[in-house]
Every structure is written in structure tokens, then in C-alpha cells.
Symmetry: C2
Subunit: 387 residues, 2 copies
């Protein structure tokens, strides 16, 4: 078990009817909010009304910054910073899914920085300050509501890059599972794949295979994501399943899921970011394509031990030999992704196999930035397993 530091000061307010608390919580941190949201789904599911009413009741002014795309982009982030400055905002409220929260984190940090916000992503500078950020989560998936990382796509360079800073933890995140009940099946599935990917990355690339408590937590969260999603797809109005899934997705990337692993690589994310940057597909869909392909590739390099352990604990794989158990684990992932309607092949999201070299070239950007030991040929090999 490797050394680690864990610090996560996000206050989580979780449950039915909690969105109305946003005003009182926000009033602790500022007076004029930049209210960031997406393309209007929050106006259909009641979140917009609940948030704005609560802000008004607590005497907060707010300026709206709407239109955040899934795979949020740099230009819109810059607009948000400009709007926050023009309106002398002193806090940011994100109402939406991971994309909205990520762009909000970028705006909160960019607001306090005299240079261009992309500098945080290119590695030119570190984040030293940020406006206070509060979130109202509407889609369980990315875990951004309880961590300090975020991802923005530079649409000029097709780079989907990340940044992180302790300044970027939300002060408060409100999570009402009721608002997830109207999520379409595809978003539910993509969110589940994303959550699963977050715990898979560290688990399978750990530098220490003897961090028993963290392995147990990873298995627990994975089982819960899978069981919760199965219940939701059987009955979308199952509140407890929605709630368990929502909290599971948060736990899948709040730091706990990788403690003692000594840092692993986010290789599946590094490759997937290129798919969603180049083809604007959903992040979860891209991960469902990349993960089984990477498992098959990595099985020959890392051996079957971890895959076998995961499968036995999470999927109930009963094979006696590790080799067979590992293969059945990969098959279980594929079977489950198919069952929930996630794609497994590039062709299913209309990405031609001929583009693989171009995707691999793009992926080398993040692979290099993150210091992952994987060359371009290997990325091509991985992607060819998803043809």
C-alpha cells in the first residue's frame, strides 16, 4: 500500500427536496452568482425554477450563463469568464451534469487569472485561486461534484484536456436523486459507464496490488453502479436505485477509489478523450468502446491477476484459473455494456476504422501530458480491438 494524501472538503447535501437549500448555502459565499447551465433541460425538470427561486429568496443576484455543451468547449468558457467579470460576480453556481460543473470550475479559476484560461490546461500555469463554486448535480456520472478536476475541449486544436487544483473543489454540492428520474436511458447508461471507468482506471493500473481496503471499496462501488443501473433500467422511477447510483458515481471519483495505489494511469480516459474531442460522442459511450479493447490489450502485458480478482468479486466469475477468469471478466464487461445499450465498437458510433491513426495521434497529446507509458502504435493496437 503506497503512501497517499487525502483531502476532500466538499459539503454534500443529498436527497429529496434538497435543491431549495442552494440559496442559503450560496449566501455564505457571495452575493452575485454566475448561474451556469446547459441547453435547457433544467427548465424542463424543475431544477431551474427551484434554484432561481431559492437564490431570490436568499437575496442573491444572479446572471445566467447557459448553453454549456456536453464536452464543454473553451470559447463558451471564455464567454462565461467575461460575463462574470462584466457583472462583478463573486461566486459560481453550476446546475447540471459533469460538463456544466467542469466549465464552471474553469470559469471560477479563469476569473481570478489575468491570462487565458487555457493556460491551466496546457500546463503553462497552475491554478492559484478561484471563485467559490456551488453545484446542483443533475446527472450521476463524472464525479466532478466532489473532486477538484475538470476537463475542457479546445475546439480550435481538438484537445480535450484536464486541469485540477485544490482551489477547484466545490464548496457545496447538492444532489437530489429525484431530478435524475427523468434522465433518458442513454444518459443513465453513459453515466454508469463513466463511473465504472473511473474506478477501473486506478484498479487496473495500480502500482501496488496489495492495497486491500481500496480494492474492496472499488469492488463495492462497481457492484453498486452495476446493480443500481440494472434496477433503474428495469424501473426508471426506482428512487432508491437512482439515489444509490448517484452517490456511487460520486464515490467513484472523489479520491477514495485509488488511495494506496500510488497513482495509476488514466489510459482509457486518455484514449477516449480523443474520441469525444474529434467526434463529439458522449464520454460514457466512448469509454464503453475503449475499455474492453484496452483490457484485451493489457491482459497480455499485465497478466490476468487483477482482471480475475475484479471479475470474481464484481461479476461473480467462478472460473478456477486466473486466465479464464480474466477472459470471462472482459466478456462480462462487454455483456453488461451491451445490456445497458452502450456501444462496444467504433462502428456503432460511426467512427471509421480508417481514422484510427488520426485518433491515436490525437491521443498522444494527453498520454504525453499525463506521462502514461503507451506509444502511438499501442494506441492503434487497442483501437483496432474495437473495430
Amino acid at each position: 500500500m503506497k503512501n497517499f494524501t487525502f483531502y476532500n472538503p466538499v459539503k454534500i447535501i443529498f436527497g429529496k427536496g434538497t435543491i431549495e437549500k442552494i440559496g442559503a448555502e450560496a449566501a455564505v459565499h457571495g452575493k452575485t452568482a454566475l448561474l451556469v447551465y446547459g441547453k435547457g433541460s433544467i427548465k424542463k425538470n424543475g431544477v431551474y425554477a427551484a434554484v432561481t427561486q431559492s437564490l431570490k429568496a436568499s437575496g442573491l443576484a444572479f446572471v445566467e450563463h447557459e448553453g454549456v455543451k456536453s464536452n464543454p468547449v473553451l470559447a463558451h468558457t471564455r464567454e462565461g469568464i467575461k460575463k462574470a467579470r462584466e457583472n462583478k460576480c463573486d461566486l459560481v453556481i453550476a446546475a447540471g451534469g459533469g460538463s456544466v460543473i467542469d466549465e464552471s470550475k474553469a470559469i471560477a479559476a479563469g476569473f481570478k487569472y489575468s491570462g487565458d484560461v487555457w493556460d491551466f490546461f496546457s500546463g503553462k500555469t497552475a491554478i492559484k485561486d478561484a471563485m467559490p463554486l456551488l453545484t446542483v448535480l443533475t446527472i450521476p456520472a463524472t464525479g466532478s461534484e466532489m473532486n477538484c478536476g475538470f476537463v475542457i475541449t479546445n475546439e480550435e486544436t481538438s484537445q480535450k484536456f484536464n486541469a485540477a487544483s485544490p482551489c477547484s473543489f466545490p464548496k457545496v454540492s447538492i444532489m437530489d436523486p429525484l431530478v435524475t428520474i427523468t434522465l433518458p436511458k442513454t444518459q443513465t447508461a453513459n453515466g454508469a459507464v463513466d463511473a465504472l471507468a473511473h474506478i477501473v482506471e486506478g484498479y487496473f493500473t495500480t502500482k501496488d496490488k496489495d492495497a486491500a481496503i481500496t480494492d474492496e471499496l472499488v469492488h463495492a462501488i462497481a457492484r453498486s453502479v452495476i446493480a443500481g443501473t440494472d434496477r433503474i433500467l428495469a424501473n426508471p422511477e426506482d428512487y432508491n436505485a437512482r439515489a444509490s447510483m448517484m452517490w456511487s458515481a460520486t464515490l467513484a471519483l472523489n479520491g477514495l477509489q485509488a488511495l494506496g495505489y500510488g497513482g495509476g494511469s488514466f489510459i482509457n480516459h486518455a484514449i477516449e478523450h480523443s474520441l469525444s474531442a474529434l467526434y463529439d460522442i458522449a464520454h460514457g459511450a466512448g469509454l464503453a468502446i475503449v475499455m474492453p479493447a484496452w483490457f484485451k490489450y493489457d491482459l497480455k502485458i499485465s497478466g490476468p491477476e487483477r482482471l480475475a480478482k475484479f471479475g470474481r468479486s464484481v461479476f461473480g466469475v467462478a472460473a478456477a484459473s486466473d486466465k479464464e477468469a480474466a477472459e470471462r471478466t472482459i466478456a462480462s464487461f462487454e455483456k453488461w455494456f451491451s445490456k445497458i445499450g452502450a456501444p462496444l465498437k467504433l462502428s456503432e458510433v460511426k467512427i471509421p476504422a480508417a481514422d484510427i491513426p488520426k485518433i491515436a495521434e490525437n491521443a498522444m497529446g494527453l498520454i504525453t501530458k499525463w506521462g502514461i507509458d503507451c506509444d502511438r502504435t499501442s494506441v492503434e493496437d487497442i483501437l483496432r480491438k474495437a473495430v
Copy 2:
């Protein structure tokens, strides 16, 4: 799944050789520390030398407050407050196990309060402020290093009572598993029982039996505590087992273990506190006596469902019927407690059965304070199952 709020801002620095960081971390929060520790074990295991050297290197002054008892007492707490005031301390450093950390929390809060520190425990007043507290943990057991609760025994009234406040979260807790390698078998076992008890309490008294992710986490932590302890008892120098156990005990009471349960009762703790208050036995030993007795009592009231679920997941109980699975789960607890050398009967810690009415009377203090639905006759019934 019930609504919840989760907030835990403790910074954890975990791993080999981390104690030397205490000085730099403490310097952020103050200049003159009250250094609280127990009866000298930290002078034998190198912790005292590492802490004091680090404090000096970072330019911190410190005043020593030694002699904290396991089951820390009010008189010594008051002395600590007096010493901190006389020496104009502005932070507290706890170096030890849960008792040392608990007394340190009481001192840190009592220092800022003009009345008597017992007022926090009697319920006369709430904690509104506290000195910053940093901890160096030496015994995995209570979880106090990453929560805001603490327990003190009033030796005049034989009341072992608790207090809690968001002000009482440690700023930083340093956890070096290396220092636990020299822990005697009894302390290892008592710590494991305590950790197990912390997750058991919420799980078996939950107001909502459909909080799937939290059930999964509880199973994960329980399995990890049991497996870690087994490894440690087989080989006390197994670093990874010590590390996994240390982090597991923290997770067993940092709040995560009960989210969505809607509050449960700490009935086993309420009864055990009377055993350790009246007879000064180790808290973990008392819990090993009370828990199986309470399971047997509660099985008839709550039914077998939760015990069966826990046993199937944690102990691998294979019984088909819930009733049989529940009984085997209780037997598994007893078998494991015996295996690690924890007592199961009052007689094993020399408490006479004739004292049961007196113990039950004492226990009603906490049971009433905590609003637990359990009368004196029931406490006597429970204790008679441990004769």
C-alpha cells in the same frame, strides 16, 4: 435511501515516514502547541522523537501534556486546558490512539469556552469554537482521527459521554502504519472489534434498508478489517495488512459508513460505555462482549434479514434461509472474536453477573441522551446473554 449531509474536511497524510511532516503542517495553524500523549508508548516506538524533532525543525514551541488514560478522564482534560491557557498555546497536537485524540478534542474546545468543559458532554452547551488540532495516530481503532466526535469519562459520576461539533474535526491527521507494527496483539484485536462495531451499529439499526451503496461500503470495510486483522495476527510485521487495517478503521467511522441510513442507534456503544466507565476495561473488549449479545436480542425484534445479508457478504455464510443465515452470522462474529482473542462473556473481564442491574442503570444515561428506544429491562436482557 434517506437524505443526508456529508462534510469531512480532514486532511489525511498516510504512509511510511510521514510523521516528519507534522511540523510543517502544524506551522500553518499556530506557533505554540500543546502536545498531548498517553503513558509513554510514543517514547518507545519513535513517535515522540519524530514529532518533537519535526516541531522544532519547523520553529514551533510546544508544551507537553502527557498521561492520557485509555478511557480518558475529565480531570486530566481540565488539566490540559489549564496548561494550554497558562502557556498561551494556539494549537493542539495529539500523538496517540483514540483516547489521546478524544481528550485533545475536548481540550481544544474547552480552551475556547469560559465554562466547564463537561458542559459539552452533559448537553448544557454546544461547541462553538476550538483550537486547531492535528493528530499523529498510533492505534487504528476509534476513527477519531477523521471525525468530529469524542468521548470523555467523568470519573466523579461514572459517565462516559460523548460530544461532537464541526469545529472538532482535526485539521490534519498523519497516519504511519509502521508505528502500529509494534502494537501488542490485544490492542490490535480491540481496535479491530471497535472498527467493526462502528460499521455494525448503523448497518443493523438503519431506518432505511435500501441504501445499497452504503451497505456495499459497510461490507467492504468489514471484510477488510477482518482480513487485515487475520493477516496481522499471522504476521505482525505485514506492513500492507497494517496499512489496510489502519485506513479501514478510519473509514469505519468517518461518516461514509452510515450515509442514507437516516441515523441509527449506537446501542452497542451505549451499553459498552458503561462497562468501560464502571470497570475501566478496553472499549474494544467491551464491544466484543456486547455485540453478539445484542445481535441475539435484536434478532427476535428486527428479524433475520440484515444479519443474513451481512453474513452472506462478509463471512460467506451460505445458508438458504434468512433465519439460519442470521444465526450463523452471529456465530461467525463470536468465532472470529474468539479467534483474535477478544472476550465474549462478562466473566472473561471479571464483571460479575450480579452487577447487571447496576450496569443497566448506568447505560440508561447514554441511552436517554442519545434517544435510543431501549429500556432498562431490555439492557439487562441483553447483558444476561453475555453471562
